[in-house]
Symmetry: C2
Subunit: 223 residues, 2 copies
């Protein structure tokens, strides 16, 4: 065991984890972009530059935030016996965790998917698809496809929610979407207008699972 090797200087007032907590809270309450270094510092009652003691710059904060969310996901592995059940549970869990923090979703699509937790998630996907009987090459393609679908679906879902996505209950979101969609001129977009009543209701868990099933059905599973 490496001795902690105490270093000189005053005691630290914060921890990296506290910084990330504050950042995530700000993202949840005030939406994406609210996790500015100055606001984080203000919440923690500290000077803006003190934050740089714990994380080198803003992109490091975003990366660490993504790693924390993915780490929580990875640490709650289901580990059943059916690969498809496990995969669906994993996908649903990721969606639940990300829609709980809509402000953090843009970070995932912004290129912060390089950390070890992201790699571990990819590894788990590859493992699940190997259990499904796919070859290594098929599993690699399939894992990437699933990642694309899952992240794309979540991103589109949180993007059309104008504000405070975590707070609005499902029915209100449906009503708001139906109101917005019923503005489409039926003369120009007949099929879109005709599908409004259908469309407005199923965006959410229903459509997420339906799409996931279509993707999984399309995989060349041999088992």
């Amino acid at each position: 065991m490496t001795e902690p090797r105490r270093r000189p200087g005053p005691k630290r007032a914060l921890t990296e984890e506290a910084v990330l907590d504050a950042a995530l809270t700000l993202l949840d309450t005030d939406g994406p972009g609210a996790a500015s270094i100055r606001r984080i510092a203000a919440v923690l009652g500290v000077s803006p530059n003190s934050v740089y003691t714990y994380l080198p710059d803003k992109s490091a904060i975003e990366q660490a935030l993504v790693e924390r969310l993915l780490g929580d996901l990875n640490r709650a592995a289901p580990g059943g016996d059916d690969w498809r059940t496990d995969l669906e549970a994993l996908a649903l869990d990721l969606r639940r965790r990300l829609t709980a923090h809509p402000g953090a979703v843009p970070l995932l699509l912004g290129g912060a998917m390089n950390g070890p937790e992201a790699l571990l998630l990819g590894e788990r996907l590859l493992d699940l698809l190997a259990r499904a009987g796919l070859s290594a090459a098929e599993a690699a393609r399939g894992a990437y496809l699933i990642m694309v679908y899952v992240l794309g679906a979540i991103a589109l879902e949180v993007a059309d929610v104008p504000r405070a996505g975590a707070l609005a209950p499902e029915e209100d979101r449906i009503a708001a979407r139906r109101a917005a969609m019923s503005q489409v001129p039926a003369a120009m977009f007949p099929r879109t207008a005709a599908a409004v009543d259908v469309t407005a209701t199923w965006i959410g868990t229903d459509q997420y699972l339906w799409g996931l099933h279509r993707v999984l059905d399309g995989l060349p599973t041999h088992a």
Copy 2:
């Protein structure tokens, strides 16, 4: 025909289109976030506030930019006789146009998919799927699924390109990706490490088309 109804005041020095041209050029040369109002104005040789004459605020610029890109896509409709060929051509065309402007891709995922051109694109998708024999409800779900896949794939593709995506040729991007991926510790992520050689090469048109085929194969087409 409504008479143009000439208004008082000095002649306009710019056009909305010129503003959008400058914004897109900045996005292409200096990456996402480079299309700031001040930089746009500087390129056009005009005061920052003059930009507000043509577009009400920054989000309007982003929305109009997305509408332009989607409008170009919609105006280049293939219109063949096989729905699946047309759909693949449309998906490939969208990817080609967006990867040519990687800095603009985050705008699509940022909620700027509400304009008429976006609606028209959705309508075209619904039409293609209706030609495929899908019911209205199936077509609605399928169109959304395809949109999720296409946008997700493009977003992930341009996200991992660190910089100047449009300029780097395919081989350089592959080499850079292989170098980055070969850093993953094989002890922790055996499957990921084993798949590096495969993975590094196919991200691009290959994997994009493979995933699209899997998605389309999964659709409940009856024709």
